[in-house]
Amino acid sequence: MNKTQKKFLIGGLVVVGAVAYLIYAGIKETSVYYLTVTESASMAGSGQDFRMEGNVVPGTIKVAGNALDADFVITDAAKQVPVKYHGTLPDMFKDNIKVVVQGKYDPSGTFIAHTLLTSCPSKYEASKQGQNT
């Protein structure tokens, strides 16, 4: 290997290293746990921000008059958790659908969500949507 090739190798390694570092730091700073309702019990009292998926328990949705505050309960069949969310509600938000909430537990065990995503895996599959309703 001559001198120029060595320089290129070093230059290349610097770029690869920089990208690798960005990915590493990015994951470290921004990744969050993605848990089921049952698994989320371990996060109670930790004050840590995480994501949790569950189904909305029918009849538990209470929306305030301003339509910007919602209380509801989500479940993974084994366990239930009350959720408080502030923000505009997604169009698809309703009873029985799967939601992903991000936020943390308050001391009383209520999940305070700052993000509410309705992830309906069959959004484009009409036949499945038919089965759901």
Binding site: F8, G26, I27, G130
Partner: protein, 654 residues
């Protein structure tokens, strides 16, 4: 008609297998009769796909709801425009569209090369036919599009209201064209290796296909972003969702390939790198399909879990094994003619542009598959979202943007200090001035300052190059400035088309940078009440109800918009309800200028007559769409037929 479609698809599997096998054997034995027969079979294959597609289209247009797919994606109320687009609204139809396009492109490539590239064409035909055999297999076994329902339902289920947007008509097919067209350069590259053909002929022969594929991939991504912006109603255009990433990754690697082939054309270097890149691009188009169809990675708009994903996984593994084997076994053909001379050179800047683009693709892939990997390795699901991608891609984007300015102007082999001074002092000063202007405007965000300065730098390099070329033509050919500029571009379409694309890139980066200054407000107001966002004042007038179709109900809110006390007009965001879809669908209202967009969502109607709104002010978004158009124009310039290039290809391939 549908029986005909079904038969065509079954036949297409047999014909595709025949074309592939006979083509490979005929190529290896140099048997012209076999090669010719395989080519004829390929044209027949295209005809079969066309018949099948026409049959499905006919079923949609005649409202034949006995076909499950037609029932699922349309109803009698649906206008003709959307009935046609329902063809690709679901997985089964989009696979058929995909296959038909591949057959069409393959047939065109075959026809273009009927008297050229005779050594490699049998293998090219074989590779495309084998890929088509895979698509036929999908449509015969796991994903039959002509499946029937037991009875004849009176009406269809209807098309998802979210898909009833003009963007949805153009976005998926545009993206598919991009995906599919990358199969052509891939097939040529692999064919050249199989035929042990040395040199750059396959690159020259497929340059236009590559640019064509890249053009559609670019436009497909942008149309998707635009559809998300105007239809999904969350205030942004890109959410780093797995489906978006799936089409962004091949774009990144395809862009790297587009640049690195220039080095091979000019210097005979990076040969292994180029065949590897075109293979990776093709594999990523398959990988993207796999992750979005397998249900392995949950996305807000996936196609649902189907076994089709695993067929794609198997096909992906086969493709990777095939290309790795070919590259390794033919590596002596892929030796570089030249070697790298200096770190400060065009070659080197291309190389770094490539490394960074590949790094970006890797980062996107890592972030997309991370939940799956962490669950498999550590047993816990950990997700990364937009913050991860924004954090990683911002510095990468900045580095790429700066290279966009350096790359086209720096000298080949080794740039002298004089070359650097001549080309970069003026752009650098432009960047400094722009940076000062940004500070003077009171912007203190470090990334905004860096990105606006870098944009000015790139614009400076292109303006300088254009000014020089025009000046040279004006004195050399005694032309007026306008004629000189036109001729300059016309006589060097590839170069100036490329610069035009780069101007588009600069505009897009200006648009991205605008994201740093987004503002939003959520509020509930009663009729007559107002709320403020930035220097806008919005007053809720009231809501009107109408029922334009038996299956659609509309609630239209009217909001008066004033800016700095001056009346701008009314905005009318809607909330619509569709029969069979028990969720409302919000139609946003957007007031757009080059400076910023006011984006208004009608979030809820409340029992007490108040209404809930979410308003965004998104600065500079329009630059993104304008940049996309400029890129499109630039790409068309580089693809425009060119006599000199035609003569070169003729000479090389005869």
């Amino acid at each position: 008609m549908t029986g005909l479609g079904e038969i065509s698809l079954s036949l297409s599997l047999i014909v595709a297998l025949y074309a592939a096998a006979v083509s490979f054997i005929g190529g290896a034995r140099n048997n012209q009769v076999m090669v010719q027969s395989a080519q004829n079979a390929f044209y027949a294959l295209f005809a079969l796909y066309t018949v099948a597609s026409a049959a499905l289209m006919y079923a949609f247009v005649t409202r034949d709801f006995s076909i499950e797919y037609v029932y699922n994606y349309s109803n009698r109320d649906l206008g003709m425009f959307y009935t046609v687009s329902a063809f690709w609204a679901g997985q089964k139809g989009s696979l058929l569209l995909w296959g038909w396009m591949l057959a069409l492109f393959g047939a065109i490539a075959l026809f273009q090369n009927r008297n050229k590239n005779r050594r490699i064409m049998p293998y090219t035909t074989g590779i495309i036919a084998a890929t088509l055999a895979f698509f036929s297999l999908l449509m015969v076994f796991p994903s039959p599009v002509f499946d029937r329902l037991p009875g004849l339902p009176p009406d269809g289920y209807g098309l998802n209201p979210m898909l009833q947007n003009p963007g949805m008509i153009f976005h998926p097919p545009t993206l598919y064209v991009g995906f599919v067209a990358f199969a052509i350069p891939f097939a040529f590259a692999m064919a050249a290796l199989m035929a042990r053909q040395e040199g750059e002929v396959w690159i020259h022969s497929t340059r236009r296909w590559t640019v064509f594929a890249w053009f559609f991939l670019t436009m497909g991504n942008l149309l998707g972003a635009n559809w998300a912006y105007v239809e999904l109603g969350w205030g942004g255009y890109w959410a780093w969702d797995p489906v978006e990433n799936a089409s962004f990754m091949p774009w990144l690697v395809g862009t790297a390939y587009l640049h690195s082939v220039m080095v091979q054309e000019k210097k005979g270097m990076l040969k292994i790198w180029n065949v590897a890149l075109v293979s990776v691009t093709f594999c990523l188009t398959i990988f993207g399909t796999f992750i979005t169809r397998s249900g392995l990675i949950s996305s807000v708009h996936s196609f649902g879990e189907t076994t089709v994903g695993y067929y794609f996984l198997a096909f992906l593994i086969l493709t990777i094994a095939f290309s790795v084997y070919l590259i390794l076994s033919r590596r002596e053909l892929l030796r570089s003619v030249n070697s790298l001379d200096s770190m400060v050179s065009r070659e080197s800047s291309f190389l770094f542009n490539n490394l960074i683009l590949i790094g970006a693709a890797f980062a996107v892939m890592w972030g997309t598959t991370f939940p799956m990997i962490s669950e498999a390795v550590r047993g816990v699901k950990i997700t990364v979202g937009p913050p991860f991608f924004n954090k990683v891609m911002t510095p990468i984007g900045l580095a790429l943007l700066i290279l966009t300015g350096i790359c086209p102007l720096i000298a080949w082999r080794k740039a002298s200090l004089a070359n650097l001074k001549r080309n970069f002092v003026v752009p650098f000063m432009t960047a400094v001035l722009a940076g000062a202007a940004v500070l003077a405007l009171g912007i203190r965000d470090i990334f905004a300052w860096l990105f606006f300065s870098a944009c000015a730098f790139v614009a400076g390099t292109i303006a300088l190059e254009l000014a020089r070329g025009v000046k040279a033509r004006m004195s050399g050919n005694a032309e007026n400035p306008l004629a000189a500029a036109f001729n300059l571009v016309w006589k060097n379409k590839r170069r100036y088309g490329g610069y035009t694309i780069h101007i588009g890139v600069v505009c897009m980066f200006i648009g991205f940078t605008g994201n740093l200054f987004n503002q939003q407000v959520e509020t509930t107001v009663r009729p007559g009440e107002s709320f403020a966002i930035k220097n806008y004042r919005l007053t809720y007038v009231g809501t009107d109800y109408s029922k334009p179709k038996p299956t659609k109900e509309e609630f239209v809110a009217t909001v008066l918009v004033e800016k700095d006390g001056k009346k701008l007009g009314y905005m009318q965001p809607e909330k619509n309800f569709y029969k069979n879809y028990d969720m409302p669908n919000s139609e946003v209202a957007i007031m757009s200028t080059m400076r910023e967009d006011l984006y208004l969502i009608f979030a809820a109607m409340n029992p007490d007559e108040s209404a809930t709104f979410k308003a965004h002010v998104n600065p500079l978004v329009k630059w993104l769409w304008v940049g996309g158009m400029v890129m499109g124009i630039g790409t068309i310039i580089t693809m425009w037929p060119d006599k000199r290039e035609k003569r070169l290809i003729q000479a090389l391939t005869e």
